[in-house]
């Protein structure tokens, strides 16, 4: 499955990354090289093989419903690039 320039742009946007126009061609080429390489997997017959989701053989352990954390707004905001009145702030969100 060769991918085109538009797909590269779409994937970059989904990843919230910018690719400079002069890099698009290289990226596309590299992308295709990598995809070609991983497509070796098509040689493997995986009929009736269940996908492996986790190597753990156990089931999920559940936590009791207790409040164990909180009242630490200062610690939560400690590393914030911008904060005001106890909130994180960002450039205006537009839909």
């Amino acid at each position: 499955m060769a991918i085109d320039r538009e797909t590269v742009r779409r994937v970059a946007f989904l990843s919230r990354l910018k690719i400079d126009d002069d890099k698009i061609e290289d990226t596309e080429e590299e992308f295709n090289k990598i995809l070609n390489w991983v497509e070796q997997l098509n040689e493997v017959n995986t009929d009736n093989v269940e996908p492996l989701v986790s190597v753990n053989d156990t089931n999920l352990t559940l936590r009791q419903d207790e409040v164990t954390e909180g009242n630490q707004a200062a610690a939560i905001l400690k590393n914030a690039p911008q904060a005001q009145y106890g909130y994180f702030t960002v450039p205006k969100v537009v839909e």
Partner: protein
């Protein structure tokens, strides 16, 4: 049939609608962290490092959220899936700290079920439930605190949600409205969600399409996000369906898109076209293992189930002799039903229901009180009804006593005792009063005897007055009629 048919120029159209409802789960702590779910705290105070999406933080699943989802699933007559999986739904947004929402995708915790709704024409309809899955809520972005900035509060981030998806079974706004009210009633009965749409603890996405009557399959649908009242949901369905019909009738096509419902106009407007649709890139959440429920666990939840509104209503009709209508009104809210049952215990249930739905609700309304704050207790309401049924006081006096109860919260038996309001049933005493009245009004006696029958009421009124309202009106009536024959 309560289906809505829209008559167009070229055809008759029927409405097709399905709902997705997000219900905030009632639990002390969040779904994947130990932070509190408390509403109304200072910004970012109920936030753990997990909720804030800090590097290296991992989710741990709250047992209570699983319990609540299973309980709700049982309340929706749905299949509980013993195996379910969490998945990440990936998208960027300011109030989504991890850059993904932990949800369920391929393997939800609850599968197909159904809810029976009652419709205005007296019929019922089964609405199919497609699935119920659990996921985490997002934080809140506040846009109106500054012109150039948005403010982010993560207190809500990570609170447990149940997303309930119905089949496209609704054929009219009325059916959707009835379903939402029923669903709200069920989750409130179960104590799994408080069901307050205006506070956002229950939020509804509406999917609408139309098709010609008799047509097979479905046409393109549009989705309206976060419609926040039953009334608005009904309005949104009606107006969106009409829009579709108009577009089709004019030879146009409906595009799949996400639309926003504007409560001020009742209309919808486009929010996001399909080509800008998100690509959520769901994949199994590698930080959590599959959730496996045992039969014992499900049985344990089942054992905790309370009687649901439908069962309760049927019982009230069958065992307590209530009308279907009264039972439905009383059972919509569990607190009301419980209050009623307590009040009716050992007394005439139908009369208790009349009092409850009449003077009692009117009093709460007037005083703007919640049921739980009522000055009249269930026991006292029951006692009051008993005083009437056992002829200790008459209906008129009962209303006066109720007014005193509403003011003081007092016991009706004591009020009647203290104020000497017991009705007079001693025929001798009543006869004396009757004779007195007849003797004092010879003109009226003559007129009555001449055929002016409606004067009977005047005589009764005079006697009641003389007895200070305590005479048994039935006895008075009968006696006067006898004497003036």
């Amino acid at each position: 049939m309560t289906g809505m048919i829209i008559e167009g120029k070229t055809a008759s159209w029927e409405v097709i609608c399905g709902l997705e409802i997000h219900c905030q789960i009632i639990s002390k702590s969040k779904m994947f962290s130990g932070a509190s779910t408390h509403y109304g705290s200072d910004a970012n105070e109920n936030v753990s490092f997990v909720d804030a999406g800090m590097p290296g933080m991992l989710p741990t699943l709250n047992e209570r959220c699983v319990y609540q989802a299973v309980k709700t699933g049982l309340g929706l007559n749905a299949k509980i899936n013993k195996y379910s999986e969490f998945a990440r739904k990936n998208y960027f947004y300011a109030d989504l700290p991890q850059g993904y929402q932990i949800s369920q995708f391929k393997y939800p915790i609850v599968g197909e079920g159904h809810v029976t709704v009652d419709l205005s024409d007296g019929t019922t309809k089964d609405i199919g439930i497609e699935r119920l899955h659990i996921e985490q809520d997002a934080g809140k972005s506040i846009h109106d605190m500054a012109p150039d900035k948005s403010f982010i509060d993560l207190n809500r981030a990570g609170v447990g949600l149940m997303e309930i998806v119905t089949k496209p079974d609704f054929r009219s706004p009325e059916e959707a409205g009835a379903f939402l009210r029923k669903l709200r009633s069920i989750v409130r009965y179960l104590g799994t969600c408080d069901g307050n749409m205006d506070e956002g603890s229950m939020r509804c996405d509406v999917n609408v399409s139309v098709r010609k009557v008799g047509e097979e399959g479905y046409r393109t649908r549009c989705e309206m996000k976060n419609v926040n009242s039953v009334k608005f949901v009904m309005q949104a369905i009606e107006n969106e369906a009409k829009r579709h019909v108009e577009v089709y009738e004019n030879g146009g096509n409906i595009e799949q898109e996400t639309r926003q419902f504007d409560p001020s106009t009742g209309l919808t407007k486009v929010m996001r076209k399909k080509e800008f649709a998100h690509d959520y890139r769901y994949f199994p959440e590698p930080d959590l293992l599959p959730l496996v429920l045992t039969d014992d666990y499900i049985a344990k939840v089942k054992a905790d189930m309370v009687e649901l509104p439908d069962a309760k209503r049927a019982r009230f009709v069958k065992e307590l002799g209530l009308t279907a209508y009264d039972a439905a009104v009383i059972c919509e809210n569990k607190d009301t039903a419980d209050f009623f049952e307590k009040a009716a215990k050992g007394h005439d249930a139908k009369k208790v229901a009349n009092w409850l739905m009449g003077d009692f609700f009117a009093m709460l309304n007037e005083k703007k009180l919640e049921l739980k704050d009522s000055p009249v207790s269930a026991e006292n309401l029951g006692k009051l009804v008993e005083l009437v049924t056992s002829n200790v006081i008459n209906g008129k006096t009962a209303k006066d006593v109720f007014e005193i109860m509403a003011e003081t919260g007092g016991d009706p038996e004591k009020i009647v005792e203290e104020k000497g309001l017991k009705q007079v049933t001693d025929t001798g005493a009543i006869e004396a009063l009757v004779d007195e009245v007849i003797a004092s009004a010879p003109d009226n006696v003559a007129a009555y005897k001449a055929g002016k029958n409606n004067l009977l009421g005047w005589f009764v009124g005079q006697v009641m007055k003389k007895s200070q309202g305590k005479a048994n009106p039935a006895i008075v009536n009968k006696m006067i009629a006898e004497k003036l024959k």
